[in-house]
């Protein structure tokens, strides 16, 4: 979900990893690159090879299908998050 959200803006693998890490989510490369491929094969991402700084890079961004899936995932995430918060809050007040 974090990867999908970050790819609302176009990135290539290395900058995506750096940005996620800057915001506190470390994903190692061995996980991130295969994940990008899987998301792309599911039609949630689109990618293209382009030259930047005299180097060919594969840029990924969210596809229209990815956008709607991300929206649903965010809703689901918020509901899980608030449920867990309620449970943890209730436990804390008992403790």
């Amino acid at each position: 979900m974090a990867v999908l959200a970050q790819l609302r803006r176009e990135h290539y693998g290395y900058t995506l990893k750096k940005e996620l890490a800057d915001q506190g989510l470390e994903i190692d490369e061995g996980t991130l690159y295969p994940l990008l491929r899987r998301l792309e094969s599911q039609g949630l991402l689109v990618s293209e090879w382009r030259e930047e700084d005299k180097r060919n890079k594969r840029f990924y961004r969210l596809s229209p299908a990815g956008k709607s899936v991300l929206k649903e995932l965010l809703l689901e995430w918020q509901s899980i998050n608030s449920a867990v918060n309620r449970i943890v809050g209730a436990t804390r007040s008992v403790a």
Binding site: Y12, Y14, E29, G30, Y33, R55, K57
Partner: protein, 361 residues
């Protein structure tokens, strides 16, 4: 710098080896570009080239080439976590059986003064049997895994097809209760006619199928059943003649079990009831047919002198072949009797309960 780039090239090359063929070029190109971007970034930050150790540390984050390549592939299992427990259970059980029969036959050879080469041959056959068994069971499990995934059998289950939990020894009791719940005794009793043991899960069905296949294949390949004694014993021509019937019956019985488990194919299950209702008689007639020869002697005169000769059992002397034939006939007659007596026992109980209810009234 040159040697550092070589380390990256070696890594990319190693990953490439294990990648899916159609994506190889694309993935390695992206991997190489990203590794180089990282190296450039770090070098710009440090103001010098990376050492070989620093390069290695960077590559370590990506993981072993095989591991990284595996993450690009879809997970595929020859035998997955669902089938594995049954697979290992069946494997242990059948390997135990093969070991027991082979050790018994090697023991028999040893006590009868077999030569070292004969014992060696028996041990080799034992290992062959074990290996064949492992291959056979692994293939069966892989087929089961494939069909579960391919036909999504576990996703398509129906909770109402679950059977009530009963203690294994009370299966007959359950049948009696079911007979009691009906008005038409005879019709209901016939409705209940089915296989003597009914499987209650796919796991049991797979185990039953493996056993059944072993038995049927064993009728064509005696070494599967007789182990090292297969050099002296073979199935009689009668077994060859009835083999197609046995094979069809076993397949029919397995299909029946599958349909009962999935509560489908009512017409076939009704047809099989006729078979189950009469199998006892057929078995009794076949097993008692004029002096049934199941097994014949094919060994050499030397083997006859050593193993085929007379064995004293229950105060009588038997030849090995006669003894095996009598054991097979006895087992078949017992199975037939259980099959014939079972329904009668259910009816007796039905009347017993009715009488006691009448007495109470």
């Amino acid at each position: 710098m040159r040697c550092e780039m070589d380390l990256i090239e070696s890594y990319v090359g190693a990953v490439r080896l294990f990648l899916p063929h159609e994506q190889r070029d694309d993935i390695t190109r992206e991997l190489r570009e990203d590794l180089r971007s990282q190296v450039d970034d770090k070098e710009a930050e440090l103001g010098r080239s990376l050492t070989r150790d620093e390069q290695a540390a960077l590559l370590r984050q990506y993981g072993h080439p095989m591991l990284l390549a595996a993450r690009y592939r879809r997970a595929r299992n020859l035998i997955g976590p669902v089938i594995f427990p049954i697979y290992s259970q069946v494997l242990k059980l059948l390997l135990g059986l093969v070991t027991a029969t082979n050790l018994a036959s090697i023991g028999l050879l040893a006590t009868r003064g077999a030569s070292l080469s004969e014992l060696g041959a028996a041990i080799t056959r034992f290992l062959d049997n074990g290996l064949e068994m492992v291959v056979f069971i692994t293939l069966a499990a892989a087929c089961a895994e494939w069909s579960l995934t391919r036909f999504k059998l576990l996703e398509r289950w129906n909770p109402s097809s679950l059977h009530p939990v009963t203690r294994p020894l009370r299966v007959a009791e359950r049948a009696v209760i079911q007979v009691h719940q009906t008005d038409s005794l005879v019709r209901r009793a016939l409705d209940r006619v089915g296989p003597p043991v009914q499987v209650r899960s796919f796991a049991e069905l797979v185990m039953l199928a493996v056993f059944a296949c072993w038995g049927v294949v064993g009728l064509k390949f005696p070494s599967l059943i007789f182990a090292s004694a297969a050099s002296m014993l073979d199935w009689a021509p009668m077994v060859d003649r009835i083999f197609p019937v046995v094979a069809v019956v076993v397949i029919g019985a397995l299909v029946d079990q599958y349909l009962r488990l999935t509560t489908r194919g009512a017409a076939f299950v009704r047809f099989m009831r006729i078979f189950w209702a009469n199998v006892g008689w057929v078995l009794l007639v076949v097993s008692l047919a004029a002096r049934p020869d199941w097994v014949v002697w094919t060994g050499t005169p030397e083997q006859w002198a050593r193993f085929g000769g007379l064995i004293a059992v229950a105060g009588r002397t038997w030849s090995l072949v006669d003894l095996v034939n009598v054991i097979i006939t006895t087992v078949l007659v017992l199975v037939a009797l259980v099959n014939l007596v079972g329904p009668c026992w259910r009816l007796r109980h039905r009347f017993g309960r009715r009488n006691s209810r009448a007495a109470h009234a």
